[in-house]
Structures are given as structure tokens and as C-alpha cells.
Symmetry: C2
Subunit: 124 residues, 2 copies
């Protein structure tokens, strides 16, 4: 694998982001630095980095993937506004070996209604 300025830029954008950006949002951010970067390049590198375990892919209900620094395993996704929040760990235990399968990672998504949407519901 070759080191390119495009790959480094994409990696640094994800590393420094706390917003779980979509591929297109990463693309828009990239264009500020490399004006003619290709959307395909963004997708290819996001896939590559996710496959290598350097970043995390988060599957969203609307089928638009989001990406995240690798540190977070646990998220809360609001079913009303669709926003995604980081959640501190500690909810999962005993993850070594399940039914003979080798566990390398996990993704835990809580679903419900976020604080902001709860308050809005109260106003109705």
C-alpha cells in the first residue's frame, strides 16, 4: 500500500472528527484541501481504512454509512431525528469466543428517542 496525500487527508479528517461524517461529508471536507479529489477516491480509502480496522463504519437506518475514529464501539441513534451520539463503554462484557467464532470487534447501537426530541415531544 502506497502512502498518498489523499489517503493521509482522509485519515486525518476522520481522526479529528467528532461528527461521524458520511462519505460525502468527508468528500466535501477533503475538497477544502485537495480541490479536485474524486468521490471514488474517498470511498475507496474509507473502505480500505475500515477494512484494516483503522476507522469504523457505522450502519445507519437510512442506509447512508457513517465513519468514526476507531475508539468508539457504542452509539445511540435517535429514531426521530436520526442523529447519532457517542456512548461511553462498559455495556458489553465477556466477548472472548462465541460459539466457536473468533470475535475481533463489536458494534453496539442503542435506538430510541434522544433528549432533544424528548423535549420537543413534551411541547406538543
Amino acid at each position: 500500500m502506497r502512502e498518498t496525500k489523499q489517503k493521509n487527508l482522509i485519515m486525518s479528517i476522520i481522526s479529528n472528527s467528532y461528527t461521524h461524517p458520511t462519505a460525502n461529508e468527508v468528500y466535501e471536507e477533503c475538497k477544502k484541501t485537495i480541490a479536485d479529489i474524486s468521490l471514488g477516491t474517498v470511498y475507496r480509502n474509507l473502505n480500505l481504512l475500515a477494512c484494516q480496522g483503522q476507522i469504523r463504519r457505522i450502519k445507519m437506518p437510512n442506509n447512508i454509512d457513517r465513519f468514526d475514529r476507531y475508539s468508539d464501539h457504542t452509539h445511540f441513534i435517535c429514531g426521530i431525528c436520526g442523529k447519532i451520539f457517542d456512548v461511553p463503554g462498559g455495556y458489553v462484557k465477556n466477548i472472548i469466543d462465541i460459539d466457536g467464532h473468533k470475535v475481533m470487534d463489536y458494534e453496539l447501537n442503542f435506538r430510541g428517542v434522544c433528549q432533544n426530541c424528548l423535549e420537543k415531544e413534551g411541547e406538543i
Copy 2:
């Protein structure tokens, strides 16, 4: 909401399935009973049932959603062959209220290499 033979059929297929079928697989199964059922009808009812919490939607790495009886929250997905396995519960604790958000459900996906792919790797 009206009760229709299409909706009942789709619900019964999911209820009696242990294979986490895709929308298209549900469609193919439906056609054995209702030959001219529409793929759009399958999608509409799967979305409806998932939204009502009667069935569960599982987001897969390849962006093709799978559907499941509502009982299972926890799955293991193999990164090699892509197969999905049911996992008994007990891995998640303390799921009441997170940072002020109302938690109504959760999805826990373990990722790794399944037993079968582990054995194949050993053969190389």
C-alpha cells in the same frame, strides 16, 4: 392498518424463519404462496413491521438489509463469508437511560471470523 393476506404471509415467513432473510429472499418465499405479489409490497410491509417493532432489521456490511424475528438482539457476522449467526443474550447490561436519551432497543453485532472460516484458514 388493514389486515391483508400479503402482510400476514410476510409476518409468518419472518416469524418462522431462522435464516435472517433479505427482502428479496422474503419476496421469493412469498411467491410460492401468492404468485403475483409485488416486491414493493414486501418492502413496504417489512418497513412497516420493523417500524412497529414486530420484526427486526439487521444492517449488514454489504448494505443489503436482513430481517429477523424480534426476539434476537445480538448477532455474530463473519467478515470472511458474510454469514450471520444468532448469539444468546447476556452481553449487554444497564440499558436504562443513557445521557438523557430514552433507550427503546439495541442492536449488538459481533464481527470476526466464524468457526467454519477458521477451519478453512487452518487448511491453507
